[in-house]
Amino acid sequence: MITQTELEKIAALAKLSLDKEDTQALLNDVSSILDFANAIAEVEVGELNLTEEKTKELREDIIYPSTSVEDILSNAAEQRDGYFVARKLGGLTDE
């Protein structure tokens, strides 16, 4: 039900690499799950009634101490001068 090309496109969107060996098993799994999920196609249900008016409840804009920059950076792979660092080169060239 899902093609190899579609799976590759979805993987790219989800930022997941597809290991060449397990693609077939994954294709089979995802296809059977989609078959299972497709059961909802047969049921007829009405559209959501979204016309109800709701009032907006906003909280007061009160300033209070929040998390420190030091704490926020404490789990980062790399940080510099209060910034997260995302390296652009990592020892491999594009295949």
Binding site: I2, E6, L7, K9, I10, A11, L13, A14, K15, L16, S17, D19, L26, D29, V30, S32, I33, L34, F36, A37, N38, A39, I40, A41, V43, V45, G46, E47, L48, R59, T67, D71, I72, S74, N75, A76, A77, F84, V85, A86, R87, K88, L89, G90, G91, L92, T93, D94, E95
Partner: protein
């Protein structure tokens, strides 16, 4: 099995200090974990520090709070600042949160003693605990079988006599199913009754935190301690305390039986549930036949919506701000892809892919939008159901624990969630209690589902059953702490 009041008695009668009791639970947990694998980490220092504070308070003559000094296990997807919180994933293997979850804050206020972080399926995705990066938790009733999932380690610790109560999370049955498999009580509260702040998100409109305990009274005590509106979780609401509402009297209660839940049940489960229904009738309840034709659509609805939400929630794991990161990569895009592919296990990757697919252009209407409509329809069907009855009685799971390593294919595993997921779809409260054993001696669980914020009613209904059957159906483990 050990209860909260057993510890309370020891402490108040000064028969043992909290530090002594805590050391017993820590030691038993350390010893049994090699076999049960219930804990991902033990929090010895934190536990002993809390225990010492409880002893000091006890010595000063101050009255102890309901959960003060009680040893417990916290599922490892609940943030504990300064203590590793891994979600049983390589992605967060060494992650130390910088803030406390709301539920952990509430339990710290009561000086509940944290013995350790409970093993679970990775990112709460699974029904056996076997998708855990650290290996699955075993069922204390019979270690050839799984503890269940995703709060498997929590259930194993409580059922194995290693903690008095546990805190788990339930997105599609993850508190109730392991409670059923391990022969203990598991409560999934109404969506919004307990703050989700600090619960590492799987599916935000389904996730809910709740207690696993050895008796109904304890589930009520723990729920009372953790419920409440939290300004930092906009989906949370205040609710009334339930402990003081439990009488065990259910005369005139209307218990709904929907035949759709009982189709194709194995004989020993069917017999147990029939006996439970007969017992309720003898206690004065009225049995009301109910129809629930939408039940069969609940599994596909759940998996579509939960996976969609999961794909969004797990998008945050990119290796840059926290968590696992790839060492070798060609560019930033490759860094993120490798990080995620190496950091996440197979089941998590599968659900992310499924979620991304149902949200993608061209499929959104047929899957995600349609599932939203079906969800709404299921919620409406429950509204109708609760006009004719006060609660529904169903099996918790249409089977008992699977063998360890059974490795069922994904769809077969998903199908075992049929009785539990509907509750999360509608945001309702539900409790699982032990109601028998199968021919292999494995526990069978019965589920009671109530209307929104009817925790008192379903717990009271559960209590009525427990009072008549606890001696038969709640089996003290041959391991763990014997008080």
């Amino acid at each position: 099995m050990n209860k909260i009041k057993d510890i309370k008695h020891l402490l108040e009668a000064r028969e043992a200090s909290c530090v002594e009791v805590t050391k017993q639970f820590l030691s038993a947990s350390q010893q049994e974990n090699a076999e049960l694998n219930a804990y991902i980490s033990l929090t010895e220092e934190t536990a002993l520090k809390t225990a010492a504070a409880v002893d000091k308070k006890q010595q000063s003559g101050e009255k102890l709070l309901p959960l003060e000094g009680i040893p417990f296990v916290l599922k490892d997807n609940i943030a504990t600042a300064g203590l590793k919180t891994t979600c049983a994933s390589r992605m967060l293997e060494n992650h130390v949160p910088i803030y406390d979850a709301a539920v952990w804050e509430s339990l710290q206020k009561q000086n509940a003693v944290l013995i350790g972080k409970g093993n679970m399926d990775e990112f709460a995705m699974g029904s056996t605990c076997e998708t855990s990066y650290f290996g699955g938790a075993k069922n204390p009733q019979n270690t050839d079988y799984v503890a269940g999932g995703s709060s498997g380690g929590v259930a194993a610790a409580v059922a194995g006599g290693l903690s008095i109560f546990g805190i788990g999370s339930d997105t599609g049955g993850s508190i109730r199913q392991p409670a059923s498999f391990c022969g203990i009580v598991g409560l999934k509260p109404t969506y919004g009754a307990v703050s989700r702040r600090g619960l590492i998100a799987y599916a935000s409109s389904f996730d809910q935190i709740g207690p696993l305990t050895t008796c109904v009274e304890d589930a009520a005590l723990v729920f009372d301690a953790i419920r409440g509106e939290d300004p930092l979780d906009m989906t949370s609401r205040d609710s009334s305390a339930v402990s003081d509402q439990l009488t065990g009297d259910i005369k005139g209660l209307r218990i709904g039986i929907a035949k759709e839940y009982f189709e194709n049940l194995p004989k020993d489960l069917a017999d147990s549930l029939q006996q439970a229904i007969a017992l309720y009738q003898s206690l004065g309840a009225e049995i009301v036949p109910i129809e629930f034709p939408m039940l069969k659509y609940s599994l596909p609805t759940y998996y579509i919506l939960a996976c969609a939400e999961a794909s969004s929630n797990l998008g945050r794991y990119d290796g840059i701000r926290y968590g696992y990161h790839a060492e070798k990569f060609s560019d930033l895009e490759d860094f993120v892809c490798r990080t995620r592919s190496e950091g996440f296990g197979e089941e998590v990757r599968r659900r992310i892919l499924l979620g991304t697919y149902v949200l993608s252009a061209g499929y959104f209407d047929a899957y995600y939008h349609k599932a939203q409509l079906v969800r709404n329809s299921i919620k409406n069907q429950f509204k109708t159901i609760f006009e004719s009855c006060d609660c529904l009685l169903t099996p918790t799971v249409p089977l008992t624990a699977m063998k360890s390593g059974a490795n069922l294919d994904p769809v077969k595993t998903y199908q075992t969630d049929i009785c539990t997921v509907t509750v999360n779809i509608a945001g309702l409260p539900a409790v699982s209690i032990p109601c028998g054993f199968d021919s292999k001696g494995l526990p069978i669980g019965m589920q009671l589902i109530g209307n929104q914020f009817s925790e008192a009613l379903i717990l009271n209904t559960a209590l009525a059953f427990e009072r008549e059957t606890a001696e038969q159906y709640i089996k003290t483990p041959d391991r763990g702490v014997k008080l």
